[in-house]
Amino acid sequence: MTETVNQDPVSFEIALKELEGIVKQLETGEAKLEEAIELFERGMKLTHYCSQKLEEAEKKVEMLVKDSQGQYRAVPFEPEK
């Protein structure tokens, strides 16, 4: 447990899964008090990470087009009506 407290989760999905596990552990009251406090801290960190992940992706719809050199380049996508 101790080692993971400072580790960044690899993805939103894994963070959320871990968070769910922490909620379960804390709610069943199985963890010792010291562990519970560590879990709480880890849980807060994960909450922060997840919230950040939800906001961080920027809205951008792009389309690849070939330039004169035949290389693909991303340009903003303008939907044709």
Binding site: V23, L26, G43, L54, M63, L64
Partner: protein
């Protein structure tokens, strides 16, 4: 046909051409050719393929047979060039073609221009064949299907930039998760050039480090329209994609080879957008909910513990702490009292001795002696008092230290940190494994409740 006798002499050959026509072989074959080819121009024949050959020329040579009979058939390369499936021995087929006579051999054969599997369409046969082939190669194995990430950093889409499909997908995605990165590869999704552009699109999007899922999409259409998604090269491109692929081709009832190979099949392009990501608000709600529950459970736990500690502090087992302190205090008081009493007694004895001596001595000398003794005595008295006071002071100090230690180890502080206290049967606190032995009963006081235990084994450090 001329009548011939069954037995006896041979019939006489005609004397002249005018009496009866005599054909040359070439004439015969030429007439049969005309007769046959005009009688059976374009016909459908059904049968089973046997003795199928395809030499270097690429033409198909085979026999078409049923249970009693067989007929030769040929299908020129120019005729089968657009066929999407490969004939094999034993297949039941319907062929469309002309009956032709090969004059040099006097044989006839079917010149096939079209061949379809019996009872099924051409495309269906091609579909079934490719499906079978790829399946046997393991391209559809469920074990290799990858899961779609819950929150992809970026979504790649291979589709036509002008179709309804892209609009549907973008609308749904915008509704579900507005701040998403999307990269579209504009592919041709119909006709001969479609498959190569789809393959290229999958390849190009696979170069991106950010794209975590690809949607391969096309709106509804006829089976011919959707055909590129039954293309083998497309199937293999999906299979070799490093990034998981969602196939969303046509309507719900359409099934393509792409659907089988893809990591996930969506019934429609809109459905693909629904499957690829949850709604942002739902995600946010989940995170918020977890956070609330974590706070609440720890808060409740601390509340509960505080309550337990308060209860425990009034408990008999812990009442021993202040009791011991009181005992110590009493001992100190007692000791001090005894010292005082002893000192007084000594003083009185010395006084009495002095008076006795005084009575024996001459007034002048005695007076001197008395003075000497008195000063000595008072000196002695002072020193004794100092040492006793010091002793009393020391005992007080150690009692105070003990009290301070007890305060720092107050039940609340100790038990809140999750420690437990073990008592021997006679109530002394166990600090050392040697204080007890296996088989002995001990009580373990936890922050929640008390355990009556039996020692199984003792181990020294």
């Amino acid at each position: 046909m001329q009548q011939r006798p069954l037995f006896g002499g041979q019939s006489e050959p005609p004397e002249s051409a005018s009496a009866a026509q005599v054909y040359t072989v070439s004439q015969l074959n030429a007439e049969v050719k005309i007769l046959v080819e005009t009688t059976y121009p374009l016909i459908w024949v059904e049968g089973e393929i046997s003795d199928f050959k395809q030499p270097g020329s690429g033409h198909f040579y085979f026999n078409l047979k049923d249970s009693k009979s067989a007929v030769k058939a040929v299908m020129w390369k120019s005729s089968h060039r657009f066929m999407r499936w490969q004939p094999k021995n034993g297949m039941k087929v319907m062929v469309h073609g002309r009956l032709t006579v090969y004059e040099p051999q006097g044989s006839y054969q079917l010149d096939v221009v079209q061949m379809v599997p019996h009872g099924k369409g051409d495309l269906y046969a091609a579909f079934e064949q490719l499906k079978e082939k790829l399946q046997s190669e393991g391209l559809f194995d469920s074990a290799r299907k990858r899961s779609i990430p819950m929150l992809p950093r970026k979504i790649g889409i291979v589709t036509s930039p002008t179709g309804a499909a892209i609009q549907d997908i973008l609308n749904v995605l915008n509704r579900r998760f507005a701040n998403l990165g999307i990269l579209i590869f504009p592919a041709t999704v119909q006709g001969e050039e479609a498959a190569p552009t789809i393959v290229e699109g999958l390849g190009v999007l696979n170069l991106s480090r950010q794209i975590e899922v690809i949607i391969l999409a096309r709106g509804g259409g006829s089976i011919e329209d959707l055909w590129p998604f039954n293309d083998e090269t497309v199937a293999r491109a999906i299979y070799s994609s490093r990034i998981p692929v969602i196939s969303a081709v046509g309507h719900e009832t359409d099934t393509t080879i792409s659907d089988f190979v893809a990591d996930l099949r969506a019934p429609t392009p809109s459905a693909a957008a629904e499957l690829v990501i949850g709604t942002k608000s739902e995600f946010a709600e989940r995170v918020r909910n977890h956070s609330k529950r974590i706070h609440a459970s720890l808060h409740n736990r601390l509340l509960y513990l505080r309550n337990r500690v308060n209860v425990a502090a009034r408990h008999r087992a812990l009442a021993g702490f202040p009791e011991k302190l009181r005992t110590q205090q009493q001992m100190v008081d007692d000791y001090e009292g005894r010292l005082r009493a002893g000192l007084t007694r000594y003083h009185q004895i010395q006084q009495r001795k002095l008076i006795a001596v005084q009575q024996k001595m001459s007034p002048g000398h005695l007076k001197h002696l008395i003075e000497v003794r008195r000063s000595r005595l008072s000196n002695l008295f002072g020193r004794t008092r100092t040492s006793i006071q010091k002793k009393v002071h020391d005992v007080r100090r150690s009692a105070e230290r003990f009290e301070a230690k007890l305060t720092s180890l107050s039940p609340l502080a100790v038990l809140e940190r999750g420690y437990s206290i073990a008592y021997s049967e006679d109530g002394t606190i166990l600090k050392n494994a040697t204080q007890t032995s296996s088989g002995k009963a001990i009580r373990v006081k936890l922050h929640h409740g008390l355990l009556q235990c039996e020692v199984k084994e003792t181990q020294n450090d």
